[in-house]
């Protein structure tokens, strides 16, 4: 048996580089370690600051999820200050959050994921030449329009938020904006244009309604057979290519999922509270673990630092969380290997376990029984998981599927804005309190916990989707979700382990990586891995 250690770095870049190290046995990954290479200092920055500092600081954590950070930071303060939200504020926040995700969907696909589909590893596929024609960076026939049109939803965001990604227009009690009828009309025109030009014409090859009629894997296979425009759309081609080159056969991940959910019914979350949150959600939250659904309960979240560059081996709830960094070089002697903490969820009957966050987790939550009339109720991915199981392909398909659903929601929310009603109600600033705010960023669950004492921030903890997915092993030695998703991955050519890229990128944990790709660097970095000593 041959054992080879590979260092593949960098693969992604949220909150700094992500180093991935895998051990390959007989051509298959047997162990994996993900290591966040940069300290996140913002919890320390926020301590002692004005309660609203999180609205400024947290959108700067990330160059691609700024709107999502703002959204949950505003709700954390709404809960802590017990504000009242006018309907328009909820609608605009929903629109902004969904538009950030809608831009991320094609960008993630063309600028990050699909580039690897042109790797020479697949030159033997009968579909390879077509993959190269479509997905080659800059010159691919789908790459250019896909990347360019991704900015459409951002223009909608900017009409309400002033700019993207670093806006702070969501504040406790609502949103600071005064849209005109012309703004709403323009936003609708931009969204419709994006839908027709990219989503329907290029991605689906059919109407949004036709795609959303698919409720099972068998439906999707029938959809592929239904017409040439379905088969030859980017979605149809992606599915056929994945099935041909085997992207439906690895990268499954832990099989347990977390979604905090996002988007609120404007009438059901006028007084945001922790207890009222789940029932007010449109995009449902939920835990799926050990084959059963559970409601999401923020009280069951822990952050384990056993293998993280923070003091001790504790696993605290974020309200009690600590961020006490230690010297990484010394900490490595104690088995610590990442700046990311390990978020865990205490599942009833199973204890604290790692959960995958992201679009697939949301689609699993959307398939749970018991949806209220205002809530997402979509059986498609429960059927897909039961029929063919999770994989790189399924994780990608879940992300792309959301484009059609979110387009429909945003269109509905735009139509509900009442320009004669308020967008902000002045809140009462409370000196003491606790708040929890959460959302679904494009790449998964994102939440803030804030503790206010004497008019200042006493504690502020953020758990990002990247932390859920790339977190290191916990005190029990259980690997994080990407660590476990990498295990079992076949690596055909250790000098060009493109399969590892597929798995890591299917979690979409970065965009800076995308920018590298634009410069033609990502491929080179993947291939300039360091081959460690043979064990």
């Amino acid at each position: 048996m041959t054992t080879v250690d590979l260092n593949v770095s960098p693969m992604g870049r949220v909150e700094g580089d992500l180093d991935v190290r895998v051990t390959i046995d007989d051509g298959v990954v047997s162990k994996a370690w993900t290591s966040a290479a940069m300290f996140r200092g913002f919890e320390i920055i926020l301590r002692g600051k004005d309660p609203q500092a999180g609205l400024i600081v947290t959108p700067r954590i990330c160059g691609i999820c700024g709107g999502s950070h703002l959204f949950k930071a505003a709700y954390a303060l709404d809960v802590a200050w017990q504000t009242e939200l006018p309907r328009n504020a909820t609608l605009i926040r929903n629109i902004a959050q969904a538009c950030e995700t809608l831009q991320s969907i094609p960008r993630c696909f063309y600028a990050l994921f699909a580039i690897d589909l042109t790797n020479k590893r697949y030159a033997g596929s009968p579909l390879y030449a077509e993959a190269v024609r479509r997905f080659t960076p800059f010159t691919g026939t789908s790459y250019g329009p896909g990347v360019a049109l991704s900015a459409g939803p951002i223009e909608v965001y900017a009409l309400f938020g002033g700019q993207w990604p670093h806006s702070s227009f969501m504040v406790p009690g609502g949103v600071i904006c005064a849209p005109t009828l012309a703004d709403v009309t323009r936003a609708t025109a931009i969204l419709e244009h994006w839908k027709s030009q990219w989503l329907e014409q290029r991605w689906l090859g059919c109407s949004v309604n036709r795609w959303l009629a698919n409720r099972s894997w068998a439906d999707i296979l029938a959809w592929l057979d239904e017409s040439a425009s379905h088969r030859d759309s980017d979605c149809g081609f992606f599915l056929r290519y994945c099935l041909d080159i085997g992207l439906d056969r690895y990268g499954a991940g832990p099989g347990n999922y977390l979604a905090t959910g996002t988007y609120f019914d404007p009438d059901l979350y006028r007084q945001p509270t922790v207890d009222g949150r789940n029932d007010a959600l449109i995009g449902r939250g939920g835990i799926y673990a050990g084959g059963a659904h559970f409601p999401f309960d923020q009280a069951r979240v822990r952050e384990d630092v056993t293998h993280s560059y923070y003091q001790g081996t504790s696993a605290y709830h974020p309200f009690d969380g600590e961020t006490v960094p230690v010297d990484p070089e010394r900490a490595q002697a104690d088995g610590k290997y990442s700046w990311a903490k390990s978020p865990r969820y205490d599942v009833p009957g199973l204890g604290p376990i790692p959960l995958e966050a992201g679009p697939l987790a949301r689609r699993v939550a959307a398939a749970a029984p018991g949806a209220a009339p205002h809530q997402d109720d979509d059986p498609l991915f429960a059927d897909i998981l039961a029929t063919i199981g999770s994989s790189v392909m399924v994780r990608l398909l879940a992300r792309m599927h959301e484009a059609a659903r979110y387009y429909r929601w945003v269109r509905g929310w735009l139509d509900q804005i009442d320009l004669h009603e308020p967008f902000h109600l002045a809140p009462t600033e409370r000196a003491d309190g606790r708040g929890f705010g959460a959302t679904e960023a494009a790449r998964g669950s994102l939440a803030d916990w804030i503790v206010l004492e004497r008019g200042r921030i006493a504690n502020y903890q953020v758990i990002t989707p990247t932390a859920w997915n790339i977190g290191p092993r916990d005190g029990d030695g259980t690997p994080g979700p990407i660590e476990s998703a990498l295990v079992g991955t076949p690596v055909t050519d250790p000098s060009d382990p493109v399969e590892l890229g597929h798995v890591a990128r299917s979690f979409d944990s970065c965009l800076v990586c995308t920018v590298h790709a634009y410069n033609g660097r990502t491929g080179r970095e993947l291939s300039s891995f360091v081959l460690n000593e043979t064990v």
Binding site: G41, R60, F138, H166
Partner: protein, 212 residues
């Protein structure tokens, strides 16, 4: 607590001088004019990392003192790709970013962008690359304005602004949560004056050597 500075006036509705030709033209819905600005000022950098935030801080100062209505202010933050989209429709582009070149903190580098972006458009199968001179100007954060420029030239095609100037301010301290250091703050005020003069007088920005 106030919201972020508004990004100048709303996009103009007047016809652009030339019909848009780049890929970005795909973005325009029928009947809606593409954006058009006399100038766009973009501040890049991470507000959470000391002097790295000098670009966004400068944008806030410009918003506070006011700029002409046909000038767009963009807090580019750490979103490099969207910086490229923000250049759309601008006749001239001014970029402010922090830099680490080894010079004394506060040193101002003033760089005409045409010296930094390769002149040839990407050919089939050849991704565009920056010129080797970029390697001498490493940025303290990952998303670099130079990559955004290269990307923008691809994205905007014939609409890529020809008049682009980059101001780089040498960073001193990049500690999380730190304020601007005094040297960088003084240089930021100098650059602010230079930009306001530029915007007021429409001089040819690419002429002369204004390095500190």
């Amino acid at each position: 607590m106030t919201a972020e500075p508004a990004a100048g006036a709303p996009p103009g509705h007047g016809p652009a001088a030339d019909a848009p030709t780049g890929l970005a033209a795909l973005l325009d819905p029928p009947g809606i004019a593409p954006p058009s600005w006399t100038a766009t000022v973009i501040g890049c950098g991470n507000l959470l990392r000391g002097d790295d935030g000098v670009g966004p801080v400068l944008i806030r100062h410009l918003a506070a003192v006011g700029v002409p209505a046909d000038v767009r202010l963009v807090d580019g933050g750490t979103a490099g790709l969207d910086t490229a989209f923000a250049m759309r429709g601008a006749r001239r582009v001014l970029i402010v970013d922090a830099a680490r070149t080894g010079a004394a903190p506060g040193t101002i580098h003033r760089v005409p962008a045409d010296q930094l972006v390769a002149a040839d458009p990407p050919s089939a199968g050849t991704p565009p690359v920056g010129t080797p001179s970029l390697a001498t100007l490493p940025q303290p954060h990952a998303v670099r304005w130079d990559q955004a420029l290269v990307f923008a030239r691809w994205l905007l095609g014939a609409d890529f602004p020809t008049d682009i100037v980059v101001y780089l301010i040498e960073a001193g301290c990049l500690d999380p949560g730190a304020d601007l250091t005094p040297a960088v703050r003084r240089s930021m005020e100098r650059v602010q004056t230079m930009i306001l003069n530029d915007l007021a007088t429409s001089v040819d920005l690419t002429a002369g050597d204004h390095d500190a």
